[in-house]
Symmetry: C2
Subunit: 142 residues, 2 copies
DNA sequence: CTGGATCCCTAACGATACTG
DNA sequence: CAGTATCGTTAGGGATCCAG
């Protein structure tokens, strides 16, 4: 039975297309960072926590669980005390490395350009952007 | 002056690195879709609204404003009645097209793989994922 | 027509404390 | 060590009405 609501032709513009939710896996604040961190190999929970500056245990757990559920990471629990849990990318997760790297490259390369654009925008009139139209991320950096 | 807190070497793992917030421009639910929509040319607000299924006027406005501020889109207001406002990608925004396309490709190609991973995960024991560990997006698709 | 302003509810998230 | 549980705050975001 492959007769669900899914089209043969995925269409990112349709709200009910699976590709939408698939794309949004990486539209999370942390997923790309986890991908980067695990890119070079297996890491334990605490190692990830240290590597990814600013993430809380809650968000790390949450992100890892979601990624595991979506088949991006593998979670291996070693039944010892104290517990050892290792995370690594699955092949599916590794397939994501390159695309996400391109985003990183873009970010690195255009970092100053973006910064300049912001300053320019903020200086020009632009009736003081009301808080509602700023994302948390943007406010953080003020 | 280039002597702000920014390193010569951007480091995505640092919370205070500009590249972090730059990367997160596209970590928004809607930004990638706006990029896709504007990829082929200029569109008006209402056209974007129609093209991007499921977006609200508020989120579209918000997303466009953020993208404008960050130099990704250009907003042109034609002083006519009724008003005409056109949006298009700046060169900076166009530079984002390719990376984001790779994500789209990844999503399209691995769509079923992800779906299968989810089903497999959900069937196996896995003490019923508590709501807290699911993102809104994930809940939506249940 | 465009899109700003409000209202309001919910989900996201950090911080902290706690357990197998 | 690797999380889970809980609490409190705040941002996200839909719906709606309004103005230029």
């Amino acid at each position: 039975m492959v007769t669900n609501k899914q089209q043969q032709q995925p269409d990112i513009f349709r709200a009910d297309c699976l590709s939408r939710s698939t794309l949004q896996l990486i539209a999370s604040e942390w997923t790309p960072l986890v991908v980067f961190a695990l890119e070079e190999g297996t890491l334990r929970f605490s190692q990830l926590l240290k590597r990814i500056d600013g993430i809380s245990t809650k968000m790390l757990t949450q992100t890892l669980r979601a990624m595991e559920r979506n088949g991006l990471v593998q979670r291996v629990v070693h039944p010892v005390v104290p517990p050892v849990v290792e995370y690594s990318l699955t092949p599916l997760g590794q397939a994501l490395v390159e695309p996400v790297h391109m985003l990183q490259s873009w970010a690195y390369e255009h970092l100053e350009e973006v910064a300049r654009a912001r300053m320019a925008y903020d200086q020009v009139d632009h009736p003081p952007i009301q808080e509602e139209t700023m994302t948390r991320v943007q406010q953080r950096e003020q």
